[in-house]
Amino acid sequence: MMRKELLKDPRVVRIVAPFLVGIVLVGSWQIVCVAFKVPVYLVPTPLNILQTLIANFGSLFAALLVTLKITLLAFLCAVVLGVAMAFLLVQGRIIEVSLFPYAILLQVTPVVAIAPLIIIWVKSPTPALVVCATLVALFPIISNTVLGLRSVNPGLLNLFKLNRATRWQTLVRLRIPSALPYFFGGLRISCGLALIGAVVAEFVAGTGGSGAGLAYQILQAGFQLNIPLMFAALLLIATTGVALFSCMAWLTHLSLRHWHESEMG
């Protein structure tokens, strides 16, 4: 009886269902590997990966912190720059028409292609990597925030005009709240892109030594054909991405739960 009610709770289902899928997938992976005696240098078993992860946790975790630092710095830069640019773009049609193509240019240029250039220009490694990752994460913030700042209910705009709201009042009380759902949508896309940008930039830069991130761990493991170590590093990157996304989803929920349709039910 109790169990049935618990399973009906949508919050429980939301956690339990994907968890079960994960267990089934990992379980069958383990079984297939063991049953067909797949060699460990091709596909390691989940148990194998876990053992490697625990054995190398110190170095992997240090690398994770490096990658995470770059990701978060880049994400922060992207949010600040993206929002600033969005505000600039909505100031007038002419500004938008003349600048938006360059924002798109930013989006379509592959980071792998410009990373070497940035690494030459910016000498110290961390800022260079942050710049690369920021470029990747920037566009969704700009485009979503612009869309949001424009998506104002025309009736409310009339109401503000009727009450002689100043430009500033209209911005703070109307445009910014209207833009929030779109902005948060941008955050969710952008946080994942910041991580991808950070890892890709690390690959291209190939920075080694004590300040190396997870990408370097993967490269090294590849050279040594240490496949379980590669998987362990991959697992950490994936987990970080999911954690970042969950943080953004939680932030969205906190800000929109009272009023926006996306956070209902």
Binding site: N153, G155, L156, N158, L159, F160, K161, L162, N163, R164, A165, Q169, R173, L174, P177, L180, H258, W259, H260, E261, M264
Partner: protein, 275 residues
């Protein structure tokens, strides 16, 4: 045109404004850039304390006229006066204006009290005064208990009440309403009509009410301005002499039906002329 109107027992007022005139439109014309002739030579005088309905089919420019009175649109020709001044007055005692739109137009992210407080926040009224006025306005529309609710938690009728409370919080002397109850079911609409009529009767308030319902216009108004379409123009003005306190009995009285008949005839003839 004027001749035909007089035949059916109504006169377009061509009188000049006096000290009691709240709104005055003189030879107002509106043509949009795309060529739509929304209003043609509109003359209208609205006196202090009147409840005036603008009645007509869609496309007769009644909403355009209302939006001009609200300062949201400019006439292409002719001029408007507010309290005998050529420009919309700044907010001050005795000359404040508020508008209620077709939809409730509430901020979904703000609770009911904050929505009602918005115009007071925008004109930077005293903080204590704001709270008092919000509470008072919500009480007038019977929503005191819902002040912490969010708009999406309310029914359409309640949302409209919040919208009206927001207008009342400004303690307006002139209230412009653009088909406010058009999207509501008939029972809710009748109830809100009755409440609105009672609100108007108890204060120094002039109301301009846009509607396409003949019944609503007769029930609410002290004067109905009948408008025709393409181009939008005033066909006639009909004074409604009904009882001061109007209730459901008024809706079924012979008087009420008589006025409905008069207005209906006016509208029909205008359309026949046009065709």
């Amino acid at each position: 045109m004027l001749m035909k109107c007089q035949e059916i027992d109504s006169v377009v007022s061509t009188v000049s404004p006096d000290s009691d005139t709240v709104l005055f439109a003189n030879r107002v014309d509106k043509t949009y850039p795309n060529g739509t002739h929304a209003l043609d030579d509109v003359r209208l005088r609205i006196q202090r304390g009147e409840f005036v309905s603008l009645l007509g089919p869609s496309g007769c420019g009644k909403s355009t006229l209302l939006r001009m009175f609200a300062g949201l649109e400019m006439p292409s020709a002719g001029h408007l006066r507010w309290w005998n001044e050529p420009r919309m007055p700044d907010y001050r005692q005795g000359r404040s204006m508020a508008m209620v739109f077709q939809e409730a137009t509430l901020m979904p992210w703000a609770d009911v009290a904050s929505n009602v407080r918005l115009p007071l926040d925008l004109c930077k009224a005293g903080v204590e005064e704001r709270e008092a006025r919000v509470a008072q306005a919500l009480e007038l529309v019977g929503l005191s208990k819902s002040h912490k609710s969010y708009p999406r938690e309310l029914s359409g009728g309640m949302q409209m009440r919040v919208s009206i409370a927001r207008a009342l919080a400004m303690q307006p002397n002139l209230l412009l309403m653009d088909e406010p109850f058009g999207a509501l079911d008939e029972f809710t609409r009748n109830k809100l009509d009755a409440d609105l009529r009672a609100l108007w009767a108890n204060r120094d308030l002039t109301v301009v009410f846009v509607t396409h319902s003949i019944y609503e216009a007769v029930f609410l108004s002290s004067k109905v301005v009948v408008m025709g379409a393409s181009p939008g123009r005033v066909i006639g003005e009909v004074d409604i002499e009904g009882p001061a306190v109007r209730d459901e009995n008024f809706r079924v009285s012979p008087e009420f039906l008589h006025y409905c008949q008069v207005l209906s005839d006016l509208l029909t003839r205008a359309n026949v002329e046009h065709d």
